[in-house]
């Protein structure tokens, strides 16, 4: 049982005509991304305290938590809590305060919440305290966007350098569409958008690029191999040839993220759900978005006049046995 593969995700030698669905794919993607952009503005992202500033405290009460009592205790101290909600266990409460007017007020709020809790629920334990002032949250937000932007730019330059510009533009446009969908998913599910989510989006970016590069790589190879095949057929062939790999890797990353979503605990499961969503989007966009864009951009260029250029450009980098490390 350890020798032979047990079964395959897709049978060998499929000849699915993916490029027939190219308009459909682009239209669906455009609709989803537009909807995501709308969701981004209304209702908007549920910004976590990393980016919005404020205070979050996770509290464990001795018995099942009495939310009305805690709310009343906070109200009595004139603490404007944005939310008092259950967090995981029945005895765990998440108290959230919005951004405070100053750094000092943020710190004072922490102390006041603690005092109010001590009075109302003796024996309550503060498990976690996060307090972020306004200046820091603005900085974190800026750095998050910067990381995202520079990553996209570097991916663009890298693919441009290794492939043709049509590939790079196709990849980056697809990635932007992927990212907007992930943001729409965040806005829709109300999963908190914090630093960890920036990490999730960057990981999706990395994963999705990886997927596109594999398909593109096969396109590049087939361009050299089948000099007369129309680009449309050639892209279809390349997707079919890499289909098992595309789905296989999606499966392993999906399987790796799934336990995080189910058992990783409240603070990491949001990350994992976004990852799972991103894997599905990233995989399908390689086939239905990145490839059609390449077809549109390269229909005349890649096939006719620049075959020689592509071949010449790729040959020196083709690894030989001697070139391997």
């Amino acid at each position: 049982m350890f020798m032979k593969p047990r079964f395959r995700l897709v049978p060998d030698g499929t000849r699915i005509k993916f490029m027939r669905g190219r308009f459909m794919g682009l239209i669906v993607s455009a609709i989803l991304s537009t909807a995501s952009v709308v969701l981004f503005f209304y209702p908007g992202l549920n910004l976590g305290i990393d980016f919005a500033g404020g205070v979050v405290m996770e509290v464990r009460t001795p018995g099942p938590a009495d939310f009305t009592q805690i709310r009343a205790a906070l109200a009595e101290e004139h603490i404007g809590a944005q939310g008092v909600q259950r967090f995981g266990d029945a005895s765990e409460v998440l108290i959230r305060l919005g951004a405070q007017p100053s750094e000092q007020a943020t710190q004072a709020a922490v102390t006041r919440v603690k005092a109010a809790l001590d009075k109302a629920v003796p024996g309550a334990k503060v498990l976690r305290t996060d307090a972020v002032g306004a200046s820091v949250s603005a900085e974190l937000f800026r750095n998050g966007l910067l990381a995202l932007g520079i990553s996209l730019l570097m991916i663009l330059v890298y693919i441009w350098f290794r492939f043709e510009w049509q590939f790079a533009v196709g990849a980056v446009v697809t990635l932007i569409l992927d990212v907007t969908k992930a943001i729409g998913f965040l806005a829709l599910t109300r999963i908190e958008f914090d630093l960890v989510m920036v990490a999730a989006i960057l990981t999706i970016l990395g994963y999705s690029t990886n997927d596109k590069v594999v398909v593109y790589d096969r396109v590049r190879e087939n361009l050299r191999k089948y000099k007369t095949m129309p680009l449309r057929e050639l892209i279809d062939l390349s997707i079919n040839e890499t289909l098992n790999r595309t789905l296989g890797t999606s499966m392993t990353v999906f399987l790796a993220s799934l336990p995080l979503a189910l058992f990783g605990g409240e603070s990491i499961s949001g990350f994992a759900w976004v990852m799972l969503f991103g894997i599905v989007v990233g995989t399908s966009s390689s086939i239905f978005i990145a490839a059609p864009i390449l077809l549109f951009l390269g229909e005349n260029k890649l096939r006719r006049d620049s075959v020689a250029v592509v071949a010449a450009k790729a040959r020196p980098r083709t690894p030989s046995g001697a070139g391997a490390p």
């Binding site: 032979k4 750094e103 305290t129 920036v198 990981t203 970016l205 590069v213 790796a256 799934l258 391997a324």
Partner: protein, 526 residues
């Protein structure tokens, strides 16, 4: 491609072995202090602890410098009989504005102020510029270099004081580092509730001993302090004010020691302090000259107590009383021993995790990791058969190597970092999937086994390289711009990508090659 020289084989296996050995320190305590015993550190979110980001109030630093400058200007102009209409610090413009009554004396004034300019730092750049206009206005502006070096000095001095204060509380292994121009990161492992430390760090603890002006009534409504006086609130009751001379007779910087104790007569908590020789002499002089007059002990512009001087205190020792509890007396003693901060510190970010929650996170992370690992291994085994198991062996080694490199770097493992390990497991097998699919394709195209293996590994190489390079770039950016636990995520993924290239490309190839030479199969099990 499929041939491995003996040397190469041993090098690959040796690298794996070294990786395994480097993981050992994580399991055992160091047997001897001289052994390099590098381990992965648990992040504060896993072991419990607090992260505080403090900001040094640079405005206060500049304002203090300008206030000092105003005093110096006043003294410099007095001997020459130069009178002025305005003399004020303008902290927003980093300057002192001086307007003379008699514009004709501008040159004389500038000459008198010249000695105030002192070279700043080893480059001997003047620390300020003096500009005058013919109508008698003189501006003393601090130079950017001076501002910068002063800010740096203030941050470094603050770090030192913060360290001393935290050391006094007995926290183990605190980490205190500078971040950016004006920030200090304080990491306190094991401290889930940093309230006391925040209180200790939240005070400048600048203590002064000054005479009380008994002639002025600070509590009269609408009273304005006479020149040379300050109306300061009492520590106990801030509504109650007291008129205190501006002139500082003895400064807290002259203290050598401070301890909490109890007064044997009343039994109340007090703080006993000792002056150094300069402080002792000045304290003796002042108390001798002012017997029977009240004397204010001022901490951060609040009067702790204003006792009457009964007799000259010449021994350089004194006692502060003022309705202390055991805790507050101890805290004050700690603050006085550690010294005053050059400027107030503000906590701009706090992340505290109690040890309970940390343990929960470790449990959740470990469980996810185990389940994810089993799922990925099961998938590879069923979908790729023997070659899948080669990949699984490489995956285990990959995990070891990741741990080894992270130990070498003494990297911090956070909860997102654990998620990163899991994702790396999922992505690391991608290289093997690419190789296996390729071998299968080549084999189905009718190539004999060895040729199929050769072609599979060769052709998959550029794909593997390109696809990993882009993911690598994205995570390097995350490390550069991320902070805290998210950086831990970036570290595990970048390290994981690097090690997976080695295990997929070298180790799996070695395993496949050894298997091929020993079995010589006529058909590949793909």
């Amino acid at each position: 491609m499929m041939y491995f020289s003996r040397l190469k084989t041993w090098l690959i296996l040796g690298a794996c072995l070294i990786g395994a050995i480097l993981c050992v320190p994580n399991l055992l305590p160091a047997p001897a202090p001289w052994l390099p015993w590098r381990t992965v550190h648990l992040g504060l979110d896993l072991q419990g602890g607090s992260y505080l980001l403090l900001e040094v109030d640079m405005k206060a630093v500049i304002k203090e410098r300008l206030d000092g400058l105003v005093d110096a200007v006043r003294q410099a102009l007095r001997p020459g009989g130069i009178f002025y209409a305005t003399l004020e610090a303008q902290p927003d413009q980093n300057r002192v504005l001086l307007r003379l009554r008699d514009a004709s004396k501008t040159e004389a004034a500038v000459a008198a102020l010249r000695p105030l300019i002192s070279p700043e730092g080893p480059t001997a750049v003047p620390d300020m510029t003096v500009d005058s206009t013919p109508d008698g206005q003189i501006l003393l502006t601090l130079s950017p270099v001076a501002l910068k070096s002063r800010a740096l000095g203030a941050v470094q001095q603050s770090i030192e004081i913060v360290r001393r204060r935290i050391d006094e509380t007995g926290v183990l292994d605190p980490q205190i580092t500078q971040q950016g121009d004006d920030r200090i990161v304080v990491q306190l492992p094991g401290v889930g509730d940093p309230e006391r430390i925040k209180t200790l760090l939240g005070q400048t603890a600048h203590m002064t001993f000054r005479l009380v002006d008994t002639a002025a009534n600070a509590n009269a409504p609408g009273a304005v302090p006479p020149p040379g006086d300050d109306f300061l609130p009492m520590e106990k009751d801030t509504q109650q004010k007291i008129a205190v001379r501006k002139r500082v007779d003895v400064d807290g910087g002259d203290l050598t020691d401070a301890r909490a104790g109890t007064n044997p007569q009343t039994g109340e908590w007090v703080v006993n302090f000792t002056f150094n020789s300069v402080g002792a002499r000045r304290f003796a002089d002042i108390t001798r000259a002012n017997v029977n007059r009240p004397f204010a002990i001022v901490l951060d512009n609040k009067v702790i107590s204003a006792p009457r001087i009964n007799e000259p205190i010449t021994g350089g020792r004194g006692q502060i009383s003022g309705s202390f509890t055991a805790g507050s007396a101890n805290d004050l003693a700690v603050l006085l021993r550690a010294g005053a901060l050059p400027a107030p510190l503000t906590v701009v970010e706090q992340r505290s995790v109690g040890p309970e929650l940390g343990a929960d996170s470790i449990r959740a992370g470990a469980m996810s990791l185990a389940i994810g690992f089993v799922l990925v291994i099961g998938f590879m085994g069923t979908f790729y058969g023997l070659f899948g198991w080669f990949a699984n062996a490489a995956l285990v080694v990959n995990l070891l190597l990741m741990l080894a490199i992270m130990s070498l770097l003494e990297a911090t493992l956070t909860l997102p970092g654990m998620a990163g390990i899991l994702l790396t497991l999922g992505m690391a097998v991608d290289a093997n999937i690419l190789i296996n699919e390729r071998i299968r394709e080549e084999s189905h195209n009718g190539r004999p086994p060895l040729a199929a293996l050769e072609a599979g590994f060769t052709r998959a190489y550029s794909t593997i390289f390109d696809s990993n390079a882009t993911a690598f770039l994205a995570h390097v950016m995350l490390f550069a711009f991320g902070s805290g636990p998210v950086r831990g995520f970036a570290v595990t993924i970048t390290v994981g990508i690097a090690t997976s290239l080695f295990t997929a490309w070298m180790l799996t190839r070695l395993l496949v090659s050894k298997w091929y030479t020993s079995h010589r199969p006529r058909l590949l099990p793909v």
